[in-house]
Each structure stands twice: as C-alpha cells, then as structure tokens.
C-alpha cells in the first residue's frame, strides 16, 4: 500500500484508517482500540491557542504572587509557588528542587509555549513559524511530565495536614493556578493528533 495524506495509523494500536474529511461535531475513533483519531471541529485550533494563551498569562500570576498563607498566632508565613519549588534547594535536596520546578512550572509553561508557537499563526490564517513541527512534537512528548493538576491535589492534602497547626488562607495565585488546571484540561479535550498535524500540513502549502 502506498502512504498518502489520507492514510492514518492509530498511535496506540497501529490500525490503519482512511480519513478524508471529518464532519463537524463528530469524532473519529480507532476501529480497534477506540482512541480518538480525528476531531471534526474547524475552530479547534483557535480554541487551543486561546485557552493556551489564557493559561500562560495566568501562570505569570501563579509564579510570584502568594499562593498560601499560614497564620499561627503572631507568626505568619507565606509561600508562592516559586518558593515552594525552591524549598528543596539546600544541599542534597537541590536536584529534587529542580525536578519539582520542572514538573510544576517549567514543563507546563513550555508546553503552552510550544503549542502557541506552533498553532497561533494557523489560527489567524498565516504560514507556520519555523520549527512548528518540532515544537508540536515536543508539546506532545512533555504531556505526561507536566503535573500541575497533581500539584493541586498535593495542595489539598497539605491543607488538611496543616489544618490543626495553623490557620490557612489562599492567595490570588491559588485561584489562578486552579483555573489553569481547569483550562489545560479543557484545552486537551480539543486536541487530536491527526487534526492538528493535518492543519499544520495544510498551512504549509
């Protein structure tokens, strides 16, 4: 069989599919394993770019504004996400600090950045920027390592642990981080590999 633009393989089970045009509002699933292969939403690219940009702007609030505040009588301590990440930065714990920084801040930001780089020109009908394919591939590779939502569950557990030790209040960064988690999840539902990559192909021509 000859490879062509309309032949698509399932990334999970390798089944071949002939995908021509996808009707609006439908999802094509792999005949074998049910993985979503293509999504028929012409506005998906625009949505991804808008959601990713929103999340990226909120991220700047998250990093430096206070995240949680702890009060115990006269003592008060505040922590931004940045400080949380740096909490391991002494001695043997330094590598862990770097790893947490990557999982919670660097990789989520890098993922949003690469997606915007690759898809933003497409959403306004321009030719893609150089390196768009590279950026898009890496956005997908980074996906399992961006752990913002897991960090949020960690926050919830920490809150309970500290509840009887001191009074806790959430800062502005807490709420914007919570919305980033939500927005990122919403954005991921709009993404399907074939749809995005064929959009990039079309824009290159």
């Amino acid at each position: 069989m000859e490879p062509s633009d309309t032949l698509v393989c399932c990334p999970i089970c390798d089944a071949l599919h002939e995908v021509d045009t996808v009707e609006d509002g439908t999802r094509l699933r792999c005949v074998r394993c049910g993985t979503v292969i293509a999504v028929g939403r012409p506005e998906a690219i625009l949505r991804i770019v808008v959601l990713a940009s929103t999340a990226l702007i909120l991220m700047s609030i998250v990093v430096f504004y206070p995240f949680l505040e702890l009060r115990n009588g006269v003592f008060t301590s505040r922590a931004s996400v940045f400080e949380t990440v740096m909490s391991f930065s002494e001695g043997v714990m330094a590598p862990l600090s770097i790893a947490v920084a990557f999982f919670v801040i660097v990789l989520p930001v890098a993922r949003l950045g690469t997606l915007i780089w690759a898809l933003a020109p497409l959403s306004i009908g321009r030719a893609p920027l150089p390196g768009a394919a590279f950026a898009l591939r890496w956005a997908e590779i980074m996906k399992p390592w961006a752990m913002a939502e897991i960090f949020m569950v960690g926050v919830a557990v920490a809150l309970v642990k500290l509840a009887d030790l001191a009074t806790l209040s959430m800062g502005p960064a807490f709420w914007s981080f919570a919305s980033i988690v939500f927005i990122t999840a919403l954005k991921d539902t709009q993404m399907s590999k074939h749809s995005i990559w064929s959009a990039l192909d079309t824009a290159k021509r």
Partner: protein
C-alpha cells in the same frame, strides 16, 4: 480492511501488515524502513525490538529507589525542641490518627498502592507479551492503560512535602524539612513512568489479533 470510523472489529489491518510504518507522534504513515518521519521529525519504528529491555531496565532502577524511599524519613518535623520523623507509611498513620481518613486514604493510595501495583503490573505485562498464548489480551490492554495513566499521580506525596517545607518555617516554633526519602521516592516514580512509557502498546494489540484469528478457527 481499512477502518471507517466506527468501533467494529478487533481484526483490523495494521500499518505494519500493509507494509507501512506509522508515526506515533503525528499518525502519518511511511513506507516500511523509513527511519525519520518527514512531517514531524520523530523517529519511526514499526515495533520496537528493544522496548522490553528498556521496560525492564527502568523497572529495576525504579524498584531499587523505592526501597530506601520507604525506609528513610520523608518529612522531618521540628517542634519546640522535639524532632519527629515521618516515613511514607508513618505519615499515613499520623493522618489517620488525626481523623483525616479521606486524606489518609488518598496518600496511602498514591504513595503505596499505586507504586506497588505498578511494579507488579508492569512486570506482569512485560512477561505476558513475551509468550503469546494463555492471556486475555483485553485485560492486558485495560491494565496497560491504567498503569500508564495512573503512574504520575504518585508524585502527590513529593509535592505535599514541598508545600509543607515551604510553608512551615516558624523558626523556633516549628519547622519542617524534607528527608532523603523524598528524593528517592521522586526518582522511583520517574523511573517507573519511563518504564511504562517504554512499553510498545502495539505489541499487545498484535496479540489481540492472533487470538481473534485463533478463536475463529
């Protein structure tokens, strides 16, 4: 046959059977033997011959790091002249003593059940795909999907430690410091994630195919 978009059969034509190699990054297909995908630049492999070796290598490293993660303290709490050290399991017990059973269950699930279950599940999968008969492939698939999806959630405990350490710094009154287990536990989670990712899910699907053909005979 080439699929039409409805879930209908377990016996579909794969890219490999059609003499093609599919890109797992962008789903484009190329003639067999192509090494780099011209669309996205990802490397192409029809079925990875070294996948299982990589699975086992990461698995062993992950297990090695999981042992000290349980033996050494995760959190070192210093309250007015008193030091207390909490291991992973110790932390769960403390939470349960405080009556926070729900949270204790979450932490127990994320840092004990998931890692241990993952070691067992990956080993089982890696052994099961090696010899081709006697397993229900459907069950292997569900197991694989669960393992791949759930692994990252073990990181909860590491993040909890990070947050506690950043927040609780009341010098004399109380301070919390991370223990060495936080590092080894984080590494163990990373290595088991790599182990699960090294798995070639297409191998399991090949098994499904073989069994579907046998059933019909």
């Amino acid at each position: 046959m080439v699929g039409s978009g409805h879930r209908e059969t377990l016996n579909a034509l794969t890219a490999r059977e059609a003499g093609l190699v599919g890109c797992r990054h962008c789903t484009r297909v190329w003639p067999m033997g192509t090494e780099v995908c011209a669309r996205c630049g990802g490397s192409l492999e029809s079925r990875s011959p070294t996948a299982l070796q990589r699975v086992w290598a990461w698995w062993i490293v992950g297990l090695l790091f999981y042992i000290p993660a349980n033996l050494y303290p995760m959190l070192i709490t210093r309250t007015v002249g008193r030091d207390s050290e909490d291991t992973i399991v110790g932390g769960v017990i403390t939470l349960a003593h405080h009556g926070a059973y729900g949270v204790a269950a979450i932490v127990f699930f994320a840092s004990v059940m998931i890692p241990v279950g993952k070691f067992v599940a990956i080993a089982y999968l890696a052994l099961a795909v090696r010899k081709s008969h006697g397993h229900r492939p459907q069950r292997l698939l569900i197991l694989f999907e669960v393992v791949e999806w759930i692994g990252r959630w073990s990181m909860i405990d590491v993040f909890v430690v990070a947050i506690l350490v950043a927040l609780v710094q009341f010098n004399l009154l109380a301070t919390i410091n991370p223990g060495i287990a936080a590092v080894t536990f984080a590494l163990s989670v990373v290595f088991t994630m790599l182990s699960a990712m090294s798995f070639d899910s297409r191998r399991i699907w090949d098994e499904v195919e073989i069994l579907a053909v046998e059933d019909r005979k």
